[in-house]
Symmetry: C2
Subunit: 625 residues, 2 copies
């Protein structure tokens, strides 16, 4: 199909047996999936029982890099953490940046696999080809920042890189994250899987150079990439100065910024409180750079007033949505505080904020009483109540114990019609774009293998009017199946496998991303991918993940939207009146499945799998045809 | 007097003019004072107008090391920060450990002097003989931990060492501290001086080896020292496992652990809440080691329960006193939380806790109303109220604005007899040993050049029944003048000038400390001090500081105790009935002045100064004879 591929080394660590082995990365898998998420998911499909308990010892954690990571390629220090999600029961893929991903490569590994379950709290110290199993009883109960610092101090090396969980992961919150530096692998509860394994942290240090097969070709590919980045008017200076929060004004004007738990009543204008005029760059105090990234989009913001004055964090657009728009906060300061606490506790800010907004709506609608909420007056816009709830969720204290499992399970436990206010797909809380105002993006939420995930097939065409691969009307539902497939396959290959930060794709490389990825991967790995090959790699990722999910019990019925999206038209804003009724959803799904070469039940066909070179996986769907 | 001395290099930084110069350390000063505090104070006496505003541009900040610092000598990574204190108006000397002190030596300096006042917030980056004046507007408002991390990230080097202030220093709290890592140079408001200079942080990195003149002699001296340390039954394993909090049970039993703002009613037993049975090592999660210290006494403790669960810090015995005993807290958890917040805000835990205890007593006695306290019900034992007050003090919010200046000035502003409850000497809040139960230690509080400071002439003879230089009865007041002089001179030379951590002196080296210091300094600096010379260096320190204070306006009247110590006998505990009435105080002072060769007014005589080789300073007392 294509010549060559990525060769590399896997470090497999078994916590139950306290042993580790090095093994070569399977070359066939690397060739078909490039690296990153694709490699991780394919390994998981082959190794993890699809029906297993995500929090049991049979589940594995894959920390998968990719050929670009650790090289001079910009924005490529990304780790894809793959596991079976305790939040959804489906495939989890949670991406993280910083320096930790590159450090794994420097240590000589292309993937870490963590298996089993330690008997008692443990942290791992990986250096010079050795894995040290260290006792972590003392670190249990500690937040993520202190954990990182104490481990660095313990090792006497401040340049060690550490990924760890906080209290939320220890307490098995279904949306617990894994944190390195201030970077979160936030979504789908990967931190709970780490917690279930009694694994507090992984510390790693390496000094190997990542080999590049063809240095001249690599230099040329880098040059093209930097030129494309420099030419982007969005990337420089806007994005590098403003980071993701810069898009809030635009998103709100398009009707894409959800408020009041997606009720979007129009009674409250987030730009008065969170927009760039009143917040934005005024709150910025510093930029953080991931390894070898020239952009530095992570904008550290400082709370300036109120009870959380002096707290600093890096709230992204998504956090402004979940802890700002959804809960109708009255200033940035609260959003910064909630973000900081979530990072310290190791909790996903999207799921946590959306879950609190759900509880707010339940409270306002009388489904939850103040007694149910442990006396907390969880009204819309009540910042102190919101922050109290963050603490309670992290510690599974009182009502926090119910909310720590996310909106889907919380609604199941609370009942009384609360399901109507639970904004999730497949159990994953919606990210910050209203599907009603961007229907390819919406279809991506409905069909994404991890749930309502903005990191799978982000529809930049709809958000930013970028006419790649072709111009679209964001409110149309027809023709969105094809676009969603393109977005999902592109992003999977380019961002999740190569890897490359999604922001670069969206803002600078949309039209050249397949070629750019092919050029870089070919130069580094001595491969010979064409741009079309790259797309095929991405398509494989979405197929292999689908196979896992189908075997785990998911069907077409799970490819859907929260009730509100299908029954309430947007009340206000730039997409006023828009809705996705069930018949539109069905139409979009049919089109999407057809483009994917799947049955109308959403099952990949043997023919399509064969055409993708995935023959060995066909049998896995024997019982689901 | 003695041959040779310490040679070194001073980095003088002027913030007003944004320039810096390197100059040799004055050899005569180094010879007479060894290094550290002595050198810093002598420089200050010669350079800083004694009547100047501590928060004005005329005041300087001296970061003075000493010959042992940065070498293989254990427990010697100590910096003495010397300045005119905004809390007392007297000499401030505030010691700090960690790695920052050694790093200054690695950068090639024996002292940093910071002069003037930056026009706008600034941080300094010192490397390779260059000082970079960096804009710090963005860091203003940030806590000390985040400040350190952002600077390390900014410099792209996690091994940079940073000393900085938090919000308390920015807001000129008179007891603001300077923090490096988790180590505080806590007392006397050195952080406010840094804040007044608009100096947020000093980052430093060095790679020079600290030269040792006679390596063989150094090795032998180290061997003796390690042997003495190993032979100490207190140091290993007790102190290395328990740190300073281990002494609380013993101190309480001796009647030395103050409770209820020194009212010590006996109604409340701190051992029920803070003692080793209920707290102590159970809360420990990790040890932190200062550079080249084998002991690692800094015990990181984790709050296990209640609203502050998950907070971690290193509360020392002194913090257990100020935020535990003085306020009658009901568990360790609150003490840990208060300690952590003080470190983050950059505030002295002793002064802050004692000031809050003062406000509690004023509230309980009706001097302060709940309205005066911004609605906070600041009763004894109210943990949440105490923590709220910590926040308010750091931000100078409401009542916090008054309390941020310490008990002396707060009592002056509050009036209504509140002075009676202000536990300070010369404006410095008492450290955690009741003078009534340890009278040499008390006399040290009364006469110490910085105020009621446990770090000047700690009377280990009284705390631990160590018969060095001779056995004493801690409740006697006679004969304490001589002991206090011995303690002050010893500690000044050995701990503050050499330098060496005071805990090692107290717990392992009491009987050999002068010889140990002489051996180490001689080997490193090629000097030829005798043990007696070492004592003389310490005596000079206490004289030169006294000269500064006299010129700043202090008299014998300031060498006294808080009213409560002189009018209320201890109501309970191991020193029940003990008191220091004014006549005892006067007796002790007379004896002390006589031993020091000072006049009965407490002024050093020309004869004594001449005998100490301090002829050049005699004229400075011309108007105060």
């Amino acid at each position: 199909m294509f010549k060559g591929g990525y060769t590399g080394k896997v470090l497999r660590i078994n916590l139950t047996e306290k042993r580790y082995t090095e093994e070569p990365l399977r070359e066939d898998v690397a060739a078909k999936y490039i690296g990153g998420a694709g490699v991780g998911i394919k390994y998981m499909l082959d190794e993890v029982p699809t029906k297993c308990d995500p929090l049991g010892p049979e589940n594995n954690l894959y920390f998968s890099l990719g050929p670009l990571c650790g090289t001079d390629a910009p924005a490529a220090s990304r780790v894809m953490i793959v596991t079976k999600s305790p939040l959804t029961g489906a495939v989890a893929k949670s991406s993280g940046g910083g320096h930790f991903p590159a450090e794994i490569k420097f240590a000589g590994y292309d993937m870490l696999i963590v298996e089993g379950q330690a008997e008692t709290p443990t942290w791992l110290w990986i250096k010079d080809g050795k894995v040290h199993f260290r006792e972590a009883n003392h670190l249990w109960g500690l937040n993520t920042f202190d954990t990182q610092q104490l481990i660095k101090d313990n090792l006497g090396d401040q340049n060690v890189r550490v990924a760890c969980i906080g209290q939320a992961g220890e307490n098995l919150s279904a949306f617990a994250s894994i944190i390195n530096e201030r970077h979160a692998s936030g979504r789908k509860g990967v931190g709970a899987v780490m917690g279930s394994k009694n694994l507090k942290a992984i510390a790693i240090r390496g000094e190997n150079e990542v080999p590049v097969a063809n240095k001249k070709a690599f230099k040329a590919a880098l040059k093209s990439m930097f030129e494309a980045m420099k030419a982007s008017e969005i990337l420089y200076p806007h994005f590098s100065k403003g980071g993701t929060p810069m898009i809030i004004d635009n998103m709100f004007e398009l009707g894409l910024f959800p408020t009041k738990n997606f009720e979007n009543t129009g009674e409250w204008d987030p730009l008065d409180y969170l927009g760039s005029e009143v917040g934005g760059e005024k709150f910025n105090i510093a930029r953080e750079f991931c390894y070898k990234c020239p952009v530095g989009c992570s904008q550290v913001k400082l709370a300036r007033e109120g009870p959380f004055k002096g707290m600093a964090s890096i709230p992204e657009f998504e956090t402004m949505y979940s802890f700002g728009g959804m809960t109708m906060m009255h200033s940035f300061n609260e959003v910064i505080a909630a973000d900081r606490l979530c990072d310290e506790y190791g909790m996903d800010t999207i799921s946590c904020g959306v879950t609190i907004a759900f509880a707010m709506e339940c409270y306002e609608k009388g489904i939850l009483s103040i007694d149910d909420l442990d006396g907390i007056d969880l009204k819309w816009s009540n910042a102190e109540a919101m922050i109290q709830m963050v603490h309670k969720i992290a510690h599974r204290d009182g009502i926090g114990d119910i909310l720590a499992d996310g909106v889907k399970k919380a609604a199941e436990r609370i009942g009384k019609g609360s399901e109507k206010y639970a904004m999730h797909v497949k159990g994953l809380e919606l990210a910050g774009y209203d599907p009603r105002g961007a229907k390819a993006h919406g279809l991506n939420y409905a069909t994404g293998y991890t749930g309502a995930d903005h990191c799978l097939g982000y529809a930049f065409q709809e958000m930013f009017s970028i006419p790649v691969p072709y111009p679209v009307n964001r409110l149309d539902y027809k023709g969105k199946g094809r676009l969603t497939k393109w977005n999902q396959d592109t992003r999977s290959a380019v961002c999740d496998c190569a890897p490359m930060c999604g922001f670069i794709l969206d803002m600078a490389l949309a039209d050249v991303c397949h070629k750019n990825t092919a050029d870089l991967v070919n130069a580094i790995a001595g491969a010979s991918y064409t741009p079309d090959d790259i797309m095929l790699c991405g398509e494989r990722v979405n197929n292999v993940a689908r196979i896992f999910n189908i075997r785990a019990g998911f069907t077409r019925d799970d490819d859907t939207f929260p009730e509100r999206i299908m029954t309430e038209a947007l009340k206000d804003g730039g997409a006023k009146g828009s809705i996705i009724p069930p018949e539109e959803r069905d139409y979009m799904l049919d089109e999407y499945f057809e483009d994917r070469g799947w049955t109308l039940a959403g099952v990949p066909t043997a023919e399509r799998l064969a055409s993708l070179g995935m023959e060995e996986d066909i049998a896995k769907l024997r019982d689901f045809a």
